[in-house]
């Protein structure tokens, strides 16, 4: 998992369920308001975007290259229920 940015992990080799687990682990350790960012593939982006946005996370997606996206998730101050 080599990131395009030194501090941003590249999760594009993870399966969608494992990506979700990995992100939830990171989000649990991260205080509200602080974004968690990673690089993912297009299929992974679709898997992340809806469930997290629906559950009170702010989701930002930027295209990084042809097949990769930089996703940023921010836990809002209100209680999460994802």
């Amino acid at each position: 998992m080599t990131g395009k940015h030194a501090n941003i992990p590249d999760f594009s080799d993870l399966t969608c369920t494992n990506l979700m687990i990995r992100l939830k682990m990171l989000l649990k350790k991260t205080p509200p308001g602080v974004p968690v960012a990673c690089y993912v593939r297009r299929g992974q982006r679709d898997t992340i975007e809806v469930p997290f946005a629906r559950s009170g996370y702010e989701v930002k997606v930027q295209k990084a290259d042809a097949h990769r996206y930089r996703v940023s998730l921010t836990k809002k101050e209100t209680e999460m229920d994802l």
Binding site: M1, T15, C16, T17, N18, M20, I21, R22, K24, M25, K28, R41, R42, G43, T47, P51, R54, S55, H67, M80, D81, L82
Partner: protein, 414 residues
């Protein structure tokens, strides 16, 4: 009408049969006491146990046979035995049948070709839940072929489903993906790969649908994913033609539909009361059958426990109300403090449970009797996993989630 059924093909331990029996008692004593006073005369029964494979030994072994006697003492319970598998094992159920002649069925239904098969009974029961016709029957396969006889059950089940004019779906998960490897050439066993291909061809000839989906995570781990287009479409050069390797979410999409999905050890618990109509479109939100995943194996010896939890996480993420119950040896996932070697790619099951705790549509439970039986205590950090006893287990299985309109609950034993 068969409101509830258990299809059991794996080894049926005293512990498992005991909690199943207690759940049935809960159903009759707490939820339907009138049935205890007035035995339902329905030939079909309220609970049907479909027994095949090694589960049949439970009818013979003294410790489990004793529990079967108690279960058969409850009203409207019947057991349908796989006659071929009984004969293969040399097991006789005549003694039990003499005591309970109306409840033990060891003659199986004839198929279109005049051949009796247990799977004709299974297909008939599975098909009844789907109105109006035509219907679909799915099969979740967790084990590899040849090492495990369940793969043959899958073939027989899907063949019987086609005979019953149902479309069929095969879901290959964990080692189940090996069922779709091309070039299988067993000399002493039915060819599972060819069998699946024949099922696909038969379905096409009969104008029925046939889908065979393999989990991409499981397939990748086992070397099947030879080309990935980067958008979720994976092409493999080593699978049979009908097999499609797809993201687990695509498989879970099928579980969101209302058809019956069978497997080696599964159950279907009816959720609707008699008299309610089944006029909802299958895709309607809130219509997805809730899923109860029972984690019954130790956490690290096989992939089953992690596979079960991953499967449940994926179900919940797709909007399916999902319960995970750690029971039998599955409670080892909750005991002690698990430590994984430092590796960014790996995580232990307790970390996974902790990470997904509180997720929408996902509830986690620890079955206390299983912990007590093993002299285990739940790790205090696993406080998102709620302790349950026998009564709570009965409630979880038989009470529908609030606002849910699904016809049944899927119970899958991992």
């Amino acid at each position: 009408m068969n409101p509830h059924f258990f299809l059991l093909g794996g080894s049926l331990s005293q512990e498992r049969l005991a909690w199943i029996g207690e759940c049935l008692k809960f159903y009759f004593v707490r939820l339907n006491p009138e049935d205890l006073l007035h035995h339902t005369k329905s030939h079909e029964g309220v609970f049907t146990f479909l027994l095949t494979g090694d589960a049949l030994y439970s009818l013979h072994e003294p410790d489990t046979a004793r529990i079967w006697e108690i279960i058969l003492g409850l009203p409207s319970v019947r057991i349908i035995c796989d006659r071929h598998e009984l004969a293969l094992r040399g097991i006789s159920v005549e003694g039990l049948k003499m005591k309970h002649p109306d409840q033990i069925l060891n003659y199986n239904r004839l198929g279109v070709g005049g051949q009796a098969s247990f799977w004709n009974d299974v297909a008939r029961i599975a098909r009844q839940h789907e109105q109006p016709v035509p219907s679909t029957i799915g099969y979740l396969q967790l084990d590899s072929p040849y090492m495990h006889r369940s793969s043959l059950s899958a073939l027989k089940c899907l063949t019987a489903a086609l005979e019953a004019h149902a479309s069929v779906e095969f879901y290959a998960y964990l080692d189940g993906v090996h069922c779709g490897h091309h070039g299988q050439n067993p000399t002493e066993f039915d060819n599972i790969g060819s069998g699946l291909e024949e099922i696909s061809e038969k379905a096409a000839k009969r104008g029925l649908l046939c889908q065979m989906i393999a989990c991409s995570r499981c397939a990748a781990a086992r070397g099947y994913n030879t080309w990935d287009d980067g958008q979720g479409q994976i092409v493999s050069t080593c699978t049979i033609k009908p097999f499609r390797i797809r993201n687990l979410n695509e498989m879970i999409d099928r579980f969101a539909k209302n058809h019956i999905i069978l497997g080696e050890n599964v159950a279907s618990i009816q959720m609707k009361k008699d008299g309610q109509t089944s006029s909802f479109p299958l895709e309607e939100p809130g219509r997805s059958p809730p899923v109860t995943v029972l984690i019954t194996t130790t956490p690290y010896g096989t992939e089953r426990a992690f596979g079960g939890v991953s499967f449940a996480i994926a179900c919940a993420a797709q909007g399916i109300p999902t319960q995970v119950i750690f029971i039998e040896d599955g409670v080892y996932a909750l005991a002690g403090s698990h430590t994984q070697e430092t590796d960014a790619r790996l995580f232990n099951l307790q970390e996974v449970i902790d990470a997904v705790a509180g997720s929408r549509n996902l509830e986690l439970f620890a079955f206390q009797p299983s912990l007590h039986q093993r002299a285990l205590a739940k790790n205090a950090k696993m406080n998102a996993v709620l302790d349950i006893g026998m009564a709570e287990l009965g409630q979880l299985l038989f009470y529908p989630p609030r606002g849910l309109q699904s016809g049944h609950r899927r119970l899958i034993i991992f």
